[in-house]
């Protein structure tokens, strides 16, 4: 329990730095893949500082409050996860957080922001089955939804849950808003959805959104690591290596795919979920 509190505090303090740093690496690698020099590694932090120093402009007065709620609930999700509580509960809180993001998007009634928010909602529907199934997978393998117990049984679950792992990595692309599933917001302006859900977020609001995204990414990477940890140092090293590998994979996919229509995203994701996590689930349940 005490260790749980330490992890939770470490998450609160370190996650934005880890997340921001990963974002910097992301930009650098993406730039190199496109044969550009790219921004400095710490550019994301410079951006955040700059955004915080700008004048607060807003389209709707309530957006800040909704984004703040989104931010805090995201923190709660991560804290619950790293302090070792129920993984299903973590994802329930996460989806509540995402609901507030949706509200922050639609409250302006701005066309691009609304379209982005609607698509964000479709994305939530798209990845939720895979997320819930992953939780079920952990439960089947460890006999508990409790992160603490899952992490401390002394075996890596990847061997029993390979299908769930594939499904989770697949939906990670959606969660991290990477191409080809970046339907709710995009890296670049001048596209059909401008900046999607973030179009109307200015200065501090955008900074808040960015930091929340970093927290979210670290949490998601935590879930990835949960597949590999087994209590030993080697397990930790392997999980960190996989975590970096998965992150690189996301960057690679991001750079070599064009945006997909949301219809295709929904259908493909559900099919993949069914044939990876679903099949794995059936096998696990039959073996039991």
């Amino acid at each position: 329990m005490n260790m749980g509190i330490v992890y939770a505090i470490a998450y609160i303090v370190l996650a934005p730095f880890v997340g921001g740093f990963l974002d910097g690496v992301d930009r650098k690698i993406s730039a190199r893949m496109q044969r550009r020099v790219g921004p400095p590694l710490l550019q994301p932090f410079y951006d955040i500082v700059k955004l915080f120093n700008k004048e607060t402009i807003s389209v709707d007065s309530s957006q800040t409050f909704l984004l703040l709620t989104y931010f805090v609930l995201m923190l709660v999700t991560g804290v619950m996860f790293f302090s070792g509580s129920d993984i299903l509960m973590c994802f329930f809180v996460l989806s509540t957080a995402a609901t507030f993001l949706y509200f922050a998007g639609v409250i302006t009634s701005s066309p691009y922001s609304s379209i982005g928010a609607q698509r964000e909602l479709i994305q939530m529907m798209t990845y939720e089955p895979a997320v819930l199934l992953t939780c079920v997978g952990f439960y089947l393998a460890a006999g508990s939804f409790n992160v603490n117990e899952i992490a401390s049984t002394g075996t890596s679950y990847i061997f029993r849950l390979p299908g769930f792992f594939v499904a989770f990595v697949f939906i990670l692309t959606i969660k991290m808003r990477k191409s080809p599933f970046d339907t709710s917001t995009s890296h670049h302006m001048h596209q059909e959805l401008v900046k999607g859900i973030t179009t109307e977020m200015g200065s501090k609001n955008l900074a808040l959104f960015q930091i929340t995204e970093w927290y979210e990414n670290v949490f998601l990477m935590g879930v990835i690591c949960l597949f590999f940890v087994n209590g030993s140092i080697t397990g930790l090293v392997i999980s960190l290596a996989v975590f970096l590998l998965v992150y690189f994979l996301e960057i690679l996919i991001d750079n070599c795919c064009a945006r997909m229509k949301w219809q295709d995203m929904l259908v493909i994701t559900w099919i993949v979920t069914f044939f990876t996590a679903g099949v794995n689930l059936v096998i696990l349940m039959v073996i039991r």
């Binding site: 607060t56 509960m89 509540t96 609901t99 302006t108 009634s109 479709i122 109307e200």
Partner: protein, 641 residues
């Protein structure tokens, strides 16, 4: 003491009904309706207190009630004659067979059938007491609401004949029938009250006498009578093979694995499926929304569909790990998923509510079918939260419709700025249906865990997919309410009456209180209920989850509030939203390619071409019917899997 309050609760609503029918002065009848609902509420409370003061034990009363038995038999015959007359009048001759057949069967059984063991007619335990509270509180509040609503309804619908006396008669009869239904243990009594609720809902749906109302009401009638037929056959079968018509003895036999109990249980469970509007019988509940809103609220929340759920919860210990249980769980899970898809494609507020009711009921039915203590635990909470929030939502949509003259969700764009009070209630109601600390979350958690433990793979899929789609349609509705609006506040006036507001307020307060007291309620009431049902009790909610839950509850209420207070103080500069530079001075208008100003409309996704009712309803009804026919034949034929 209970021997006074119980018959009072069953008979008093009928007395009120007769009085309502005789009183043709609206003001006078309104006053009487208020008094009657308050009395019903108070006596329900009294019964609860009495029962608690006697140690909240199972209470059985009325063993020898031959006069009452005869009265009920005569009333049942009258009911059958009434249905026959109505079906002949509307040229639906075959429907009368569904009433004459089972009634004839029951009459023959009671007069010439085998001698039956004398058992208690009335049995009060935790489950029936909970139902009484739901009926007493929610049902009475709906009547209070109806007084105000029906006044406005007939003001706006001048072409309809004002038959309010008839409407209130039906509402009261409905409440009486529901009390009788949940308090009886004798299946012959249950059968009578069952048929009575079917007929009441039929008459309520047909209230307006418009062609569509009549055809929908007959659809509701035949589906429910079909269930009633199955129930009657089940009762007679049981009477012949086990010599008793007591529900709790049947469950005892079923739990003990006695073969003779299998068929009656399957038939009664089948009957409950029709009442709970599960696939393939879902269409009657969707058709029911042509009736005035209070009757929809009553059908969807406190009565009717809950009767089906109630009986399934009762049967669930006997259904655990049997073919019947598997059938019920499958149909429930399937309904949960498929109707949540269909709910996405609806933009009519009441239709979304109807589909979501069926979907939620599906989850409850699945919980009952799995028949484990933790699923029933989850199911009870689902039922409780669903009853309150659905009643709140229906009443609110009704009130909104009176103000906006539309119940289309697209027209509720920015309701928060047009009708803030009603939008607030709507928000609470929707949050109660799916958002974090409220009922759905923990029930889903528990149901998911139980279906994994049970090894029910298909159920896991149903829940995982269904929960994704459920969040989708509720969230998009909530988003619609809070979006900045192009509709002006001055265009619409909040004409919600005081009595409607009273009911709405009480619902909202109940909802939030229940949510805060949730862990306590689980400990004090639901755990004993489970113990009573299964004979043992294992803690569904581990302490850690409980703590997590309390934290989440606190946070989800506190965070938005604090964030709101904090962000209000921030100094901001307001700017126009981004519209490629074609804004027309504000965020609501833009300049089109002809240089003219146009109002901006943002619409939600509905996907009705892919998952609309027309696309999905037919095939899924066919599929569910096929599953039901095959599995019922297997059960009756005695095939074991």
């Amino acid at each position: 003491m209970a021997s006074f309050t119980v018959p009072f609760l069953i008979i008093f609503p009928f007395v009120s009904a007769v009085l309502s029918y005789c009183t043709r002065i609206n003001k006078l009848r309104n006053g009487m309706s208020y008094i009657s609902s308050v009395i019903i509420m108070a006596v329900t409370g009294l019964l609860f207190v009495q029962w608690c003061s006697q140690g909240a034990a199972v209470t059985e009363i009325y063993y020898e009630t031959h006069t009452a038995d005869r009265v009920i038999l005569i009333l049942e015959i009258i009911l059958a004659i009434y249905i026959t007359v109505l079906s002949f009048r509307h040229r639906k001759y075959w429907i009368s067979l569904l009433s004459i057949g089972p009634t004839g069967l029951i009459v023959w059984f009671e007069l010439f059938g085998p001698g039956l063991k004398e058992t208690a007619r009335i049995r009060i335990d935790h489950l029936s007491m909970l139902m009484c509270l739901i009926i007493g509180i929610i049902g009475s509040l709906i009547i209070v609401y109806a007084v105000g609503y029906m006044h406005g309804y007939h003001h706006h619908h001048r072409h309809l004949r004002d038959r309010r006396y008839y409407f209130f008669t039906l509402l009261f009869v409905f409440l009486g029938a529901m009390y009788g239904f949940v308090l009886s243990d004798n299946l012959l009594w249950i059968d009578f009250f069952w048929e009575l609720t079917s007929v009441c809902s039929f008459l309520l749906i047909g209230y307006t006498h418009e062609p569509v109302a009549i055809s929908n009401s007959f659809r509701a009638l035949w589906m429910n009578l079909l269930g009633g037929t199955a129930l009657a056959i089940g009762i007679v079968y049981m009477g012949f093979y086990s010599g008793t018509v007591s529900l709790h003895e049947l469950i005892g036999l079923g739990t003990g694995g006695v073969a003779a109990a299998t068929i009656p249980i399957a038939l009664i469970a089948f009957a409950a499926l029709t009442k709970a509007a599960q696939m393939p019988f879902s269409t009657w509940l969707i058709g029911a929304m042509v009736a005035p809103t209070p009757s929809s609220a009553l059908l969807h929340s406190a009565t009717m569909v809950k009767a089906g759920i109630y009986i399934l919860f009762r049967l669930s210990p006997a259904m655990a790990k049997t073919t019947t249980g598997n059938m019920i769980a499958f149909i429930g899970g399937f309904t949960f998923l498929i109707t949540s898809f269909m709910a996405i494609a609806q933009s009519d507020g009441k239709k979304v509510l109807a589909f979501s009711t069926i979907s939620n009921l599906g989850l409850m039915v699945a919980c009952a079918g799995m028949g484990r203590s933790e699923t029933i635990w989850a199911g009870i909470f689902l039922m409780l939260f669903h009853a309150i929030s659905k009643s709140l939502l229906f009443q609110d949509v009704g009130a909104t419709e009176n103000c906006l003259h539309s119940r289309d969700i697209e027209d509720m764009h920015g309701l928060l700025y047009i009708l803030p009070r009603l939008a607030f209630f709507m928000f609470i109601g929707i949050a109660g249906m799916f958002l974090a600390p409220f009922g759905m979350l923990i029930s889903k958690w528990s149901a998911l865990k139980a279906s994994v433990n049970e090894g029910n793979i298909i159920m896991v899929f149903f829940i995982c997919l269904g929960s994704a789609t459920t969040s989708f349609y509720w969230t998009k509705w909530m988003g619609k309410i809070i979006s900045a609006s192009h509709l002006k506040e001055t265009q619409f006036r909040d004409i919600t009456k005081k009595n409607e507001l009273i009911s709405l307020w009480i619902h909202a307060v109940l909802m939030i209180t229940l949510c805060l007291l949730f862990p306590l309620l689980s400990h004090v009431y639901v755990n004993p209920l489970i113990e009573e049902m299964f004979g043992f009790y294992s803690d569904v909610l581990p302490t850690q989850i409980l703590l997590t839950l309390v934290v989440i509850i606190g946070l989800v209420f506190a965070v938005p509030l604090l964030a709101f207070l904090y962000s209000r103080k921030m100094r901001k500069t307001y700017v126009l939203s981004y519209m490629n530079g074609v804004n027309a001075g504000n965020n609501m208008k833009f300049i089109d390619s002809f240089g003219e100003q146009k109002t901006l409309w943002m619409s939600n996704f509905y996907f009705h071409k892919w998952i609309g009712q027309r696309k999905l309803m037919g095939p899924s009804q066919f599929f569910a019917a096929a599953v039901l026919v095959v599995m019922m034949s297997m059960i009756i034929g005695g095939v074991r899997i």
